[in-house]
Assembly symmetry: C2
Homo-oligomer: 342 residues x 2
DNA sequence: ACCGGGAATGAGTACGTTAACATTGTGCCT
DNA sequence: AGGCACAATGTTAACGTACTCATTCCCGGT
């Protein structure tokens, strides 16, 4: 049985040599046609293109990059794929890679494999990639010893800084400054904090930003509460906070918890924002809740992914020096913040 | 200046031949060590490993796969990356690929390039992949002519069926059956539908499921409303629906719109679920809204991604026959559905 | 002492591509 | 007419790996 579209039945992958034979030219001429080089006569080009079509030729990636030494692909090592924010980051990575004609080669680092940076790098080093972006929740001590693969430009998506790798992240500290300034400008001094789980690096940086902002204004930080990012855990925190008569504002480390806090405060008879102001982080409720009123902060996650890829590709140049890039957040002002009562 | 870790400064990528020279063995022996083959004496193995370490050897992907003809990678063509559900699907793709030691090579098909299936396949065909998964919003007519790249096992993530490619999707029709059965069992006959935008294929299938379910019970379908997936658009639809005295239930095509419908109905003085029952799709509010009460339907998106990769890899066997796989949803019963008034 | 056998290792080759160089053909200028 | 420039095409070599086969070496059995 023959392929109904072509006269010949191509068995397995088709090489340039086979196309050349059919077209009656040399293999080199096929290469020239495949790469759109100019020095081919129109007649020959057509003959070759026809033969390609007929045989179903597709260029062999391995042969091509063995010759060129380039892969036109960026590596992406992901841990915790389903975590909030990864989709935007992935979009940015794909988009920036696509801009320069690169694909993205991704590997999920799950719990089957060890999670160390060194291990992740080793696994990625054997893949067809020109540069590497690593997105993993990292403990600080992992950094001390880490040495990137020599000859493989590496960027880390993290708030920590590294002497030999560029690091890129949304500014998880700066978002607190932004929100606390916003609250302070409206007379809020006693601001409580509802964080994420203790192991969360992002939450830790947001908490530090909150703490420093209070300290800068000479306010003692009241004990922060801790949720698990869910709205229900925010509700619990809000219920616990409702009795605190001193505080005038609550800073929840994400919007879902902030929504829970608002609900709990209202259920406890405290009005938002008249009695208590509430702010969150992420702007994740925009399309999700009708008439969102939550004042929050938005990260440009796509820019985060884009920056990572751009730096990783820049890093292939020998003169490149590692740097730390922090994508600034923007304030999204809605109606959950009012002037503090005196 | 020398590399501080090794005696020699490796210039550029290191090949097996260079390692062999340093270790005083043949290139073939280095290959055996690199691949863990048994026929190497302990003494030689150690010498080679030492040389590898010293030079910073990493196996060349291109050479390896040129020889083997395999890439150990699955291609993923994505359109509309940030669309709901993609993160779970990506997780499933990565996870299933990782299970068999494969990476995932992804390209975003954005509006710079034409969106046709043929075009996407052509672009992916030159990448280092053994099989291909395509996730694009597809119009039905794209299918008629589409012929997958010969020799490249291809799976489409879509509800449409294709004679020559396996297609995989969450059952966007079956979710309606599930919800309508649930409502019917509680005496609901007049069920209104709030769909997504007209171009959405998913919404179209959900609407068809709703329509067929009504027809099966001899109920004339009242004109469906249309939102844009956001909670606010759901609110508008709910406000328009509130005056309909005949209906006893609303089926919104996603949870965010369903939440808007609930809010609007309550603002209009109709109780949920006592007066009107409301159901949604996706179970996307679970952690997002405190005390979610919405009855909805959950898709196993990870399973969707996993199935796509599994079928794509199975498709590399010559005896494989294309099929259509629909991942069934599960009902998530909460408190927005009650017995219909008589 | 000789031979057979198996383990360790090496030599040669092919995978598909592209760069560099070589060759042929064509037309134009002097 | 002779030669020169340039375009079109062909030839050769090399990229790094792993398969197949050949060789060497050592040991034990007779």
């Amino acid at each position: 049985m023959q392929d109904e579209k072509s006269g010949r039945a191509p068995a397995g992958p088709v090489s340039m040599a086979q196309v050349a034979r059919v077209a009656g030219v040399s293999q080199q001429t096929v290469s020239r046609v495949a790469n759109g080089l100019p020095n081919v006569s129109e007649r020959t080009r057509e003959r070759v293109l026809l033969a390609m079509e007929e045989l179903g030729f597709r260029p062999n990636f391995a042969g091509r990059s063995l010759r060129s030494g380039r892969y036109n692909s960026v590596g992406l090592a992901l841990y915790n794929v389903e975590q909030f924010g990864n989709l935007g980051t992935i979009k940015g990575v794909l988009s920036a890679a696509g801009d320069v004609g690169c694909a993205v080669t991704t590997v999920e680092m799950d719990d089957r494999a060890p999670l160390s940076l060194a291990e992740a790098t080793r696994r990625m080093a054997g893949l067809p990639i020109d540069a590497l972006v690593i997105s993993m929740s990292l403990k600080s001590d992992d950094f001390e010893d880490f040495v990137p693969q020599p000859g493989l430009s590496t960027v880390l998506l993290t708030m920590y800084e590294h002497p030999r790798c560029t690091t890129v992240d949304s500014d998880q500290y700066g978002c607190s400054t932004l929100l606390m300034d916003h609250l302070a400008a409206r007379g809020h001094r006693e601001v409580r904090f509802v964080g994420g789980p203790a192991y969360s690096v992002d939450s830790t940086f947001r908490e530090k930003g909150w703490r420093d902002a209070l300290a800068a204004r000479g306010v003692d930080a009241a004990e922060p509460l801790r949720g698990d990012w869910t709205a229900d855990s925010g509700y619990e925190a809000g219920a616990a906070l409702a009795g605190d008569a001193a505080m005038t504002a609550v800073y929840a480390a994400n919007d879902q918890m902030a929504l829970g806090v608002v609900e709990a405060l209202r259920d406890a008879g405290r009005r938002v924002p008249e009695d208590v102001s509430v702010v969150g982080v992420d702007d994740s409720l925009r399309d999700t809740v009708p008439h969102v009123g939550l004042t929050t902060v938005r990260f440009d996650l796509v820019a985060r992914g884009r920056a990572a890829v751009e730096q990783a590709l820049l890093g292939t140049a020998p003169s490149y020096r590692p740097r730390a890039i922090r994508i600034p957040p923007t304030l999204v002002e809605r109606s959950s913040v009012a002037e503090a009562r005196r």
